[in-house]
Symmetry: C2
Subunit: 361 residues, 2 copies
């Protein structure tokens, strides 16, 4: 984890942009402190529960990067009143009007970023939609603050190879620069131009016009990121420690006490070249056996097999032996657990236990 | 939920077997008290954390129904020493020897049930494998207690229609009766013959030789169970309340603030006749719009669309409006939340908030 953080931080420093890590993957104050460039931020969150927890831990500069629902503005006002600079994100005039009205009612200018749709994968205003961008910006001016524009190249998760990822990064960059230009041309200041996804953050070669980069899963990485080519399997800093509880020798199955409750049901590698099932099986020191995966899972049972067609032999694992499973998706697997047991390298000595939180309110 | 519990309880009473609800779905003391036939049980759990929590709440008769790892026997002994009759499950001689050794060391006969493999879907001894059954039973005799045999017809989740489900139930019944007969013929008493899965529990017509039935997801039901034909959509007693946060009108998308973190990534209906995506969309009172689903999900974003090919119109839902999403798999969706907000019928008045727990230790 330390290596992954140092790598991306160094990269973004070289590109001359500030770094606003997304804390939704870790949901842990201890991890956040290691990921952020200062104890006060900046950082990104995906729920107001995260905002509340990190503000309580001293973070002062946050973007809540999921489109704001008007019913949540009361909590935003309360969190801002506690001394934190919490900004919201939106992509409609209705939301901008609600943020402006809440700002007037509270006597504070709530800062908002307009979400830009750079690749059609989810929410946001098209960077070419001058009319909507300006209408939102103007609606915010009625009491709130237009902080800037923000986009997330979620489509980069489906890209493969450095060239395609560089293209995603450039599309992401251009979308915020173009949108900011439209707003500025309409007389609306747009100081922040925020981009980010783990794949594009690791492949952008020019971030001219961008002020900050967000990324989350990079701290831990996972098999999906390894499958895209953003990291090596050896970079994956999150694993689930499981115990062998049975065998079905005739079928070539080893049963472990980690099912989907421990791994999550994320099968994100099933659409990649190498399907890792519910996770890649390593020895207890974290060394992959190679082509040994959790092929199926029930709530508390995992079924380990050799990857079909690989010709490998199943490792000999006795009842009670421990294995580590690398996850497809660190955000999803982390969310199934209440804390992290911190180990260094291949050591199995637990140096610390870091709590993580969940929930929304 | 009350109706679902009453229905299965009445059914099993009529079949003359006792009912040992599985508490892994709900992980809630409040739900458990309503599901169990007495405050002291019997009940089933999938983790020792569940055992610990329910024992602390007064439950006294529990089966931990995941194959026991020797390293967990210390905790089993401690929980039994606190006054609860906690039994373990196993399917190998190695486990039986470990349970017998732990029993001798603790000076208590730890009760164990031999898991039977009735349909090849997971763990267990084949009900025809006389040699292994007797060897396990004899190994337990060296200090532990052979409490009985147990099976779970997990294969019933892939069955369709009443006839196929009745056949699964009969196969499940016969597997424990056959295994118990083998053990008894070898001079090994086998008082408990435990079967269970929600589909078979609702379709068994004869449970001769069975002493108890387990089931878990029946309390809440879900879209997978509705797809199998075990319940109606109207029986589903668990939903996620979400808020509209955006639209992509050109694409026919409504965005909500419930993604896979709120719904889980269970896509169990994708292999059924009707694919419900990440969940079926209802109005805030729980009435389905019909053919409107959460078609895609990111961590905190859900994308609502009309089911392709249905010809339905997308409902008009403004920013801030609320919807309820019915889940594919209640066990998985429940696990994403820290408490239940209890409502009755179509009322939106929250009568109570029931905490739920997670984790393993």
């Amino acid at each position: 984890m330390e290596r992954n953080i140092a790598r991306l931080r160094g990269r973004l420093h070289g590109l001359g942009v500030s770094f606003r890590p997304h804390l939704k993957t870790a949901k842990s104050v201890e991890v956040a402190r290691r990921a952020m460039t200062s104890p006060e931020g900046p950082a990104t969150v995906s729920t107001l529960k995260e905002a509340e927890q990190f503000i309580a831990a001293g973070v002062r500069d946050l973007i809540y990067a999921v489109g704001i629902a008007p019913s949540k503005l009361g909590q935003v006002v309360a969190l801002r009143a506690s001394g934190a600079d919490l900004a919201v994100v939106l992509d409609t005039v209705e939301q901008a009007q609600a943020v402006a009205a809440a700002s007037r009612a509270a006597g504070m200018r709530i800062p908002a970023l307009i979400e830009i749709d750079c690749d059609g994968h989810r929410s946001g205003v098209l960077p070419t939609d001058r009319e909507r961008l300006v209408a939102i910006g103007q609606a915010l001016q009625e009491g709130a603050e237009l902080r800037g524009v923000l986009t997330h190249a979620g489509g980069s998760y489906a890209a493969r190879g450095a060239e395609a990822l560089q293209q995603c990064a450039e599309t992401e960059r251009r979308s915020v620069v173009d949108a900011a230009t439209i707003l500025q041309d309409a007389g609306l200041a747009c100081p922040v131009r925020s981009v980010g996804s783990t794949p594009t953050a690791h492949h952008a070669s020019d971030l001219a016009g961008v002020t900050e980069v967000r990324a989350g899963v990079f701290m831990f990485f996972d098999l999906v990121m390894a499958g895209i080519g953003v990291c090596q399997v050896d970079d994956i800093a999150l694993s689930v420690l499981a115990t062998v509880i049975g065998h079905q020798h005739d079928k070539g199955w080893i049963l472990i006490d980690a099912g989907w409750m421990a791994m999550s049901q994320d099968k994100g590698t099933s659409r990649q070249a190498v399907n890792q099932g519910y996770g890649l099986v390593c020895d207890s020191a974290g060394r992959p056996y190679g082509d040994v995966i959790v092929a199926d899972a029930n709530q508390e049972h995992g079924i380990i097999t050799v990857r079909p067609g690989s010709g490998r032999a199943l490792p000999q694992l006795a009842i009670g032996e421990q294995v580590r499973i690398l996850p497809n998706h660190a955000c999803a697997t982390g969310a199934q657990h209440r804390s992290y047991h911190v180990v260094r390298g291949t050591s199995d000595r637990v140096e610390a236990e870091w709590p993580r939180f969940g929930g929304w309110q």
